[in-house]
C-alpha cells in the first residue's frame, strides 16, 4: 500500500476521531446509568418526591454528559477539519489528540455519575435540603470533570500544533506520548474526584448543618486527587513543547512514547486511591464534625503517601525524556 502524506494524515484523523468518540462514550454512559439507577431507588423510597428527584437526576446526567460532549467536539473536528500541512507529524498529533480525549473522558464520565446518584438518594432521605444538595452536586460534578477538560486542552493543542520544520523521527512519538500521558492519567483522577463528590452529597443529606465543612473537605480532597492528572499534563506539555534533536534510531522515539505511557498509567492508580481517601474523609467529616481538623490532616497525609507512586512514575518519565 502506498501512503502519501495526505492519505496518512486523513487516515490518522479518522482513526483518532473514532477512538475519541468510542472510548469517550464509555464513561458518561456508565455514570448516567448509575445516576438513573439510584434515582429509581430514591423514587421507590420517597414516591411523593418523584418530581424533585427526576429533576435532580436530569441535571446530574446533563453534567455527566459533558465528558462525552467534549469527545464529540474533538471527534467532529478531527473528521471535518482541513489539514493544511499533511505529513507524519500532523498524522501523529491528530491520532494523539484522539487517544487523549478518548481516554480522558472515561474517568470523569463515570465519576460525575456518582454524586448525581448519591444526591438523588439524599433527596429521598432529606427532602428539605433538596436545593442545597443539587447545588453541592453541581459543584462536585463540575470539579470532577477537570481531568476531562485537561484532556480536551491537550487534544486541542495537539490538533492545532503546526509541525513546521521539526524533524519527524523522534517527535512523532513525543506527540502520541503527550496524548497518552494526559488521557490515561485523567481516568483515575476523574473517578477519584467523583468518589469524593459522591460522599459529600451523602454527607450533606445526612447532616445538613455540616454542609459548609463537607463541601470544603470535598474540594480539598478533589484538588489533591487531581494532582496525578496535573502530573500527566506536565509530562504532556514537556513532550509537546520540547524540541527533540533529530535521530533515526527507533529507541529514541520509543523512549518518548514510553515516557507518556508511563506517566499516564502511573497516574491512574493514585487518582483512584486519593479519591478513596477523600471519600472516607468527607463521609466522616459529615458524621463527626468535631474532629474535622484531624480528619483533614489524616486525609492529606494519606493522600500524599498514596500519591508517591505517581511521583515514581513521573521520575521515570522525566528520566526517559531527559536522560536516556
Amino acid at each position: 500500500m502506498d501512503l502519501d502524506p495526505q492519505t496518512l494524515t486523513k487516515a490518522a484523523a479518522f482513526t483518532g476521531g473514532a477512538i475519541a468518540m468510542g472510548l469517550g462514550a464509555i464513561g458518561a454512559a456508565s455514570g448516567e446509568g448509575y445516576t438513573a439507577g439510584h434515582a429509581t431507588e430514591a423514587i421507590a423510597r420517597a414516591n411523593d418526591r418523584a418530581g424533585d428527584i427526576i429533576k435532580n437526576m436530569l441535571v446530574g446526567q446533563a453534567i455527566s454528559e459533558s465528558a462525552s460532549i467534549f469527545s464529540l467536539v474533538i471527534a467532529i473536528l478531527l473528521l471535518f477539519l482541513s489539514t493544511p500541512e499533511p505529513g507524519v507529524l500532523k498524522a501523529a498529533s491528530l491520532f494523539g489528540a484522539g487517544l487523549c480525549m478518548g481516554f480522558g473522558a472515561i474517568g470523569s464520565g463515570v465519576g460525575a455519575g456518582l454524586p448525581a446518584g448519591k444526591s438523588c438518594i439524599g433527596i429521598a432521605r432529606q427532602p428539605a435540603v433538596g436545593g442545597r444538595l443539587t447545588t453541592n452536586m453541581l459543584i462536585g460534578t463540575a470539579v470532577c470533570q477537570t481531568p476531562a477538560i485537561f484532556a480536551m486542552v491537550v487534544a486541542l493543542l495537539l490538533m492545532f500544533k503546526e509541525p513546521g520544520t521539526t524533524a519527524a523521527s523522534p517527535t512523532w512519538a513525543a506527540l502520541i506520548g503527550a496524548g497518552l500521558s494526559t488521557g490515561l492519567a485523567a481516568i483515575g483522577s476523574g473517578y477519584g474526584g467523583g468518589m469524593a463528590a459522591g460522599a459529600s452529597c451523602e454527607g450533606v443529606a445526612r447532616q445538613p448543618d455540616t454542609a459548609a465543612s463537607v463541601t470544603t473537605t470535598m474540594l480539598v480532597g478533589q484538588a489533591v486527587s487531581q494532582t496525578p492528572s496535573v502530573f500527566g499534563l506536565l509530562i504532556s506539555f514537556i513532550l509537546l513543547f520540547k524540541a527533540f534533536p533529530e535521530s533515526a534510531a527507533l529507541s529514541d522515539s520509543v523512549g518518548l512514547l514510553a515516557a507518556g505511557l508511563c506517566m499516564g498509567l502511573g497516574g491512574l492508580g493514585p487518582g483512584i486511591g486519593n479519591g478513596m481517601v477523600a471519600e472516607g474523609a468527607v463521609r466522616w467529616v459529615a458524621r463527626n464534625i468535631e474532629n474535622a481538623g484531624d480528619l483533614m490532616r489524616v486525609m492529606l497525609v494519606g493522600q500524599a503517601v498514596s500519591q508517591s507512586t505517581a511521583i515514581y512514575a513521573m521520575v521515570v518519565s522525566l528520566v526517559l525524556i531527559f536522560v536516556v
Binding site: 446533563a62 453534567i63 473536528l77 447545588t135 470539579v143 470533570q145 485537561f150 486542552v153 470544603t216 506536565l234
Partner: protein, 224 residues
Amino acid sequence: MEGLGRLHQIVFTIAGQRFVVNLEPLVMTWIVFGLLIIFGIAAAHKKKRLPGPVQLVGELVVTQLYGLTEEALGARHARVYSPLICALFIFLLLSNWLGILPHLEEPTRDLNTPLSLGLLGFVIAHYAGIREKGFKTYFKSYFEPVFFLMPLNLIGELAKIVSISFRLFGNIMGGAIIILVVSHLTYSILLPPFLNAFFGLFVGTIQAFVFTMLTVVYISVQIK
C-alpha cells in the same frame, strides 16, 4: 459543513505587534449587554409594592443568587460580592441562550469570553483572599501542607482558570457543533428545535449556574 471553524476577524498591526479581533463574539456580547440593560431598566423602573412580571423575575434572580452567595461566603462578604455574582450569572445565562435565535451566536462559544471571565473570577478571588487574610497568611498558604508542594499548589491554582473556562467553552461549543452537524444531516427537518432546547436552554442554564457557583466557591476558599 463549511460553517465549522469559520470566523470573521479583523487583523491589524500596531508597532509591529499583530492584533486579531474576532468580530462575532464582540457584536454578540454587545447584543447581550443591550438586552440586559433593557431588562434591568424594565425590572427596576417604576418599582411597585405589587411587582409586575418583569420586576418579579428580576427580584427572583437577585434574591436567589444573593441567598446562595450568603450561604457560601457569609452575610458580610455576600454584601460585597453578590452584585458581581448576579451580574455574572445573568450575563452568562443570556449569552448561552442567545444561540437559539437564528443568525445569532453565543459569545461564550468563543474561548476568549469564558477565559476572560475565568481570569476575572481568579483575580477577584485572590484579591479577596489577600484583603481578608493579609499578604503573609495568603502567601504562606502556598507552602501548605508541606513546603515542597509549592509548585503543585501554584499549578493547581492556575489549572482552575483553565478548567472553569474550558468547561463552559466545551459545552457551548459542543452544543453548537452538534446542532450544526445534525441540522446538516437532516436538512433541518424536525430535530433542530429540540436540540436547541436541550443544548441552548437546558445545558446553557446549567453551565451558567455552574460557572457562577464555582466562582463563588473559589472566592470562599480564598477568604477562609
